[in-house]
């Protein structure tokens, strides 16, 4: 073989090897696509991402329910349990409980009306507009809050929807309002019965074991600020004023 022949053979060999590699590569691609091996990593990644996102949303909804409930109880207590748009006479910000201006008959519905505003505000900020809440009362007369609706998640071209499983039992007894009123009235009556020896100590209320009574006498009213702890988030106060015949 002469020199030209060698060079040709070398060149031909390189081209042949390259063509062989391209052929093998194309064949490999076809095998991978046919068997979907090429997409093997995409499925677990999608599953992991969606699962984590779902977990984050569930956590957010749980906390949104807790914090909305806590803030609603505070707001309701600051308004003495009256309806949200009810106009009542106040003294130093305390609603004077008299006639129709007293805590509503259906405190649960009153609570939920206020709760919805706060809860929806959180959801809107987070971008969960399709979720809403509803309420029920269980056999122990405790209020239960539940989310309804479907959250849709997008991961590239994949879409995934799930129904959040959030159920929150409100650890609060709305019967406390009646109990607080009963005890406050009794304390005022006891004080009024003291007549000349009256000293505005309201002993029974101040030593109450179930509630912490804050009491201020203002003109012909007694301002009550009655607090009770709510979960680990803080105290919930019920504020109101009652007439006091000095």
């Amino acid at each position: 073989m002469n020199k030209n022949g060698s060079v040709f053979l070398a060149f031909f060999s390189v081209v042949a090897v390259f063509a062989f590699v391209v052929f093998v590569s194309m064949n490999k691609e076809m095998v991978l696509k046919g068997s979907s091996i090429a997409n093997t990593g995409e499925i677990p990644e999608t599953v992991i991402n969606i699962t984590l996102e779902e977990e984050e949303i569930e956590l957010f909804l749980k906390k949104a329910m807790e914090y909305s409930s806590f803030n609603t109880l505070i707001e309701l207590g600051n308004d003495g349990g009256i309806l949200k748009n009810q106009n009542c006479e106040r003294i130093n910000g305390y609603v004077i409980w008299k006639d129709d201006c007293i805590f509503s008959d259906n405190l649960e519905a009153n609570f939920f009306e206020r709760f919805s505003i706060l809860f929806d505000g959180y959801l809107k900020e987070y971008g969960l507009d399709k979720i809403t809440a509803e309420w029920n009362v269980d056999e122990n007369n405790k209020l239960i809050l539940e989310t309804i609706g479907i959250v849709e998640l997008n991961n590239g071209e994949d879409k995934y929807g799930f129904e959040p499983d959030n159920r929150y039992l409100l650890d609060y007894n709305f019967g406390d309002y009646n109990e607080i009123l009963r005890r406050a009235k009794k304390c005022i009556k006891d004080e009024e019965l003291k007549e000349s020896s009256r000293n505005s100590l309201f002993e029974d209320c101040r030593t109450d074991k179930d509630f912490k009574f804050g009491i201020i006498v203002e003109d012909k009213y007694v301002l009550f600020d009655v607090s009770k702890p709510y979960s680990h988030l803080g105290n919930v106060n019920v504020k109101f004023a009652l007439q006091y015949n000095q």
Binding site: K3, A10, S13, K28, Y67, Y122
Partner: protein
């Protein structure tokens, strides 16, 4: 064996060697390297963050501690930092640097814990952050993994975990 045959032999060996090298390094001109494309387990940080927020601190969970700290004081922040430091140090992130920060709806950023928080005033953190100095490192959010919880004062609280790349 004449000189032409020797030349052919050498050329043949070179070609053979070239072919072997090509096959050995897996030269694949049109192959899509997608068999493992998209498989990233940086989700570790997200998973950690969610578990961290759910961790019971004895008086509510960490998410509650963070939310309550918004209206808290130095003492509540100290408690939050102490608990967080223990959890983060225990996890360790395989020796990588990390920083945990919280941003409240009023724009206030609190540095909660970090791998170098004990001596933050001296050495530069190894985290490749956008920050030019340590003050920003402590008072601004970076580009780490983020989670959201509601604020007791309305709005959202952002919790960020930034971990050094492997």
């Amino acid at each position: 064996m004449n000189s032409n045959e020797i030349t052919d032999l050498i050329v043949g060996f070179v070609v053979l060697l070239f072919g072997i090298i090509i096959l050995a390094i897996g030269f694949d001109p049109i192959g899509d390297k997608s068999s493992n494309e998209g498989v990233k387990f940086s989700d570790e940080e997200k998973l950690f963050l969610l578990n961290y927020l759910r961790t019971d601190s004895g008086n509510g969970n960490l998410a509650d501690m963070i939310a309550l700290n918004e209206n808290g004081n130095d003492e509540s922040l100290k408690d939050l930092r102490g608990v967080s430091r223990n959890i983060l140090n225990f996890y360790g992130f395989n020796g990588r640097d990390y920083a945990l920060r919280v941003k409240y709806p009023n724009g206030d950023v609190k540095f909660i814990a970090g791998s170098q928080e004990g001596d933050l005033s001296s050495p530069e953190p190894r985290l490749e952050t956008k920050f030019g100095d340590l003050e920003e490192y402590r008072t601004e959010l970076g580009s780490g993994e983020k989670a959201f919880i509601p604020s007791l004062n309305r709005g959202l609280i952002i919790i960020e975990l930034e971990v050094e790349d492997e």
